[in-house]
Every structure is written in structure tokens, then in C-alpha cells.
Symmetry: C2
């Protein structure tokens, strides 16, 4: 196989895409097509170079770029793999609510309930659904050492995950589950944080007085092809916890 020449007449702007970028896109699309699934090993650099008709150094540049984006994992002496959910959780603290003065810690999960519902308005707009689409709603608590730290509402569209309509309880690690069942991994996410008075339900679950100020984190997770596939609401009191984000410029 060989890559396209550098000028294209499709768009208005002729698109100049360097070889390493083209290789990157090719690899990405094979992952999207599930030719290569999470955990799979890719051919080595020289095989890929042959296949794409470029030099090994060019392939290397693509693989390293995808590794930095978190799509691939490279292990010296072993090979290059499609990243699994578990690989990603090491780097970025999956769950953003942490104890004051601490780094992210592992949480326990206490299941409350799960139901299939029609998508409400917020879900329709954020997950690109319409009013006839259904979602699985999961409600559960996050706990650090007997201390209830947050309540989560998780919404998964049946459009993408049809088998969830049966009432089998999902495992605690939902993203792990979605990855093994649907080869769906998080590629990026958007968090919006607001302050809101605690409502009846959440107050009970968190063990706080109604109208206590809580933070409400709205999290939307998207896959590699930019499909938003999960909507999540997280409620937490912030006497002992906070939402945390650390960034490098």
C-alpha cells in the first residue's frame, strides 16, 4: 500500500499532509474500524514502513505521536499496542473528586439503581440523540474509606450499547466494561463544574442537609472518532473534597 501524493483537490484549500500525518490517520482509522482492538499488538516499525511505503523513521514519528495522544502504548523490547482503558487510567486521574490536600485515590462504588429511560433534553443535545432515543441511567455512590464522597448519575445511550437494555447490573468499572464489550475507549472528555443546592435524593445519599451547596460536575466522554458516548453528573459536598485539575502549559 502507498499513501496519496501530497496535494489533494478535494477541499477548497489544497491539503498538504506530511507522510507521518497520513500514516497517523491510517493507523487511527484501522483502530476505529476495529481492525486493531484495544490490547492488540501492532506490526513492528519496519513492517508498517514497508506496508505504507515510507521509511521506518517516519512510521516511528507517527507511532510516537499517537502514543502521546494516549491512543497507543509502546513497550521497549515488546511491541506497540492499542491502548486499553486501564493504560489510560494510570496517567489521568479518571475520577476528579479528591480529598482535600490529597492526590487522586482509589474509590469504592456503591450501586444505587439503574433504569432505562428516554433521553431528556440535556442528553439529547449533549449526546446528539433525539427524543425517541433511550439511555441507561445508572445511579451510584463513590466512597473513600466509609466516607461518602459523591453521587454519580451515568447515562449511556442504547443507540451505541444496545445490549444494555436487559437489566443486568453493570460492573463497577464501566469504562473497562465498555472497552471489552464494544472496543470503546475514552479519547477525550469535557468537565463543566457548577454550584448547586443539594436536592432531596442527593442529600440523603450524601448524608448532608438539603440545600447544602454542592458542586455538580457535568462530564461528557468521547471516543477516538469524537462521538460523545457517555454523559455523567457528579455531585459532591466540598467540606472534605474538591474537584481538582492540574495542567501544564
Amino acid at each position: 500500500m502507498s499513501l496519496s501524493s501530497n496535494s489533494s483537490s478535494k477541499g477548497k484549500q489544497p491539503v498538504f499532509m506530511p507522510l507521518y500525518k497520513q500514516v497517523e490517520e491510517q493507523i487511527k482509522s484501522r483502530i476505529l474500524n476495529k481492525e486493531w482492538k484495544p490490547g492488540d499488538v501492532l506490526p513492528n516499525e519496519f513492517s508498517l514502513a514497508d506496508e505504507f511505503g515510507v521509511s521506518q523513521g517516519t512510521v516511528r514519528k507517527s507511532l510516537n505521536a499517537l502514543t502521546m495522544q494516549g491512543t497507543l502504548i509502546r513497550r521497549q523490547g515488546v511491541g506497540t499496542f492499542v491502548a486499553e482503558q486501564s493504560d489510560k487510567q494510570e496517567n489521568t486521574s479518571q475520577f476528579p473528586i479528591v480529598r482535600n490536600g490529597r492526590r487522586p485515590e482509589k474509590t469504592e462504588i456503591a450501586f444505587i439503581r439503574q433504569t432505562v429511560k428516554f433521553a431528556g433534553l440535556a442528553l439529547q443535545t449533549q449526546l446528539k440523540l433525539d427524543s425517541s432515543d433511550k439511555v441507561l441511567e445508572i445511579v451510584r455512590k463513590r466512597i473513600f474509606r466509609q466516607q461518602i464522597c459523591a453521587v454519580e448519575y451515568i447515562y449511556l445511550p442504547l443507540k451505541y450499547f444496545p445490549e444494555l437494555s436487559n437489566n443486568a447490573k453493570l460492573p463497577d468499572d464501566i469504562h473497562q466494561f465498555l472497552q471489552t464489550q464494544y472496543s470503546m475507549t475514552i479519547h477525550n472528555l469535557v468537565d463543566e463544574v457548577r454550584a448547586t443546592p443539594s436536592n432531596q435524593d442527593v442529600s440523603q445519599w450524601l448524608g448532608v442537609k438539603p440545600n447544602t451547596p454542592l458542586i455538580e460536575v457535568t462530564r461528557i466522554c468521547s471516543s477516538l472518532d469524537e462521538t460523545p458516548f457517555e454523559y455523567r453528573l457528579i455531585y459532591s459536598q466540598t467540606d472534605n473534597f474538591h474537584y481538582r485539575h492540574e495542567g501544564t502549559y
Copy 2:
């Protein structure tokens, strides 16, 4: 000049540092020493390669790494520059409070007051100060089109910025100012978000009823050498605004 051989007997673990990493550290330290200041142009790749006694490709790898960390800016046909504050603000949305359903937008600033104080407890721990250290406190409002969106308390230690003790009002773009005056640029930051009832002062400034639930963002900015040099508290109501964070895995 030439770099150290790959094995060192200083630490407990013999440290193997690849050449490109050593070059990276060298360049970083020259920036810290203010040999190269924000906005300065670096020598070209071949000059640096000569100077460090490595090949041009190795220097390139270092420069690209530092570019991705936001420390340098490279412009084809022109040269490689030490990043300025203005370069950084383009990539990462400096100010994290945005209107609902929007991307980050430019805000106006309304000055309220500024005072020199002794550092309180939170400041002492977070900025590594002691009780005799003084800070400049700046209080001001953030405004989107006549709509007050947030109140900011900004704390700058006189330890790092001694000339601020005179009562001259600082310009709106504080980071721009700190960069030109002190060659101090943000390298990373930590945000902690909590929910809190609005107090008397903030209620007035934001124009909300006392005890309205607000978000409180505690932001600590650090420089390239990991010195935390600014502590900031941001208060905002979240009927029309929210704290936003977008991340790629």
C-alpha cells in the same frame, strides 16, 4: 561544550539520561538563569548542535519537546523563541470560567482594590511562605459584556516581586506584567473547585443574594522551576457560567 557521559555516580541509581534529554535540561536551565528571556530567539539548530557536541537531529528533538511543553515557540523560516505569556494564552484558556454553552471568551476587568498584607495560613502553606512574609492582594471583577461573571482575589508574594510593595496599580494582564518585569511565566497550574455560600462582599460585587451557592476556584500558578508564585481565588455564580475543563487522554 560537551555533555556528560551517560553514567553518573552521584545519585543512588546511576542515571542514564539520553543526550536529547540532557540538551533539554541545559536549555531549560539557561532559561531559568535568564540567559535566554521570554521573547528571545535561540541560536539555530546547527549552532546549538555544535555547542552541545551533538547532531542537529538530537537538538531538534529537544527543541520540539520543549515546544510541546510550551516552553519554546518555533516559527518556520524565522527561528526558535522562548515562549512569552501571550503565546501561552492562545493555547490554554487562561481564565476557566465561561458562559454556558460557550467556549472561552475575552473578559474585561474591573479593579476593586489592592493591599499589602501578611500571608495567611493558606498562603503560607501553598506558596511556601512563612508568617513574616507579605503578599500583595488584588481584588477585581471579571466581566463579559456588562455581565459580572466572577470576583478574583489574587495574591503575589513580595518575596518574589519586591517592587510591588509601592502602591502603583498593576495592569490588567498581570501575567504579561510579571513576564516583562520578572521574566516569570506560568509553566503549570493547579485548580481546586469547591462550592461555597456567597459571603457579604462577594455577593455585593457579583450582584447576587447572600448565601447563593457559588463555585470557588483556588488556583496556584507555578513557574518553570516549580516555584508557586501566585495564589488566586475566583468566585462565580453558575446560573450563567461554569468552570470548564477539556482534556485529551
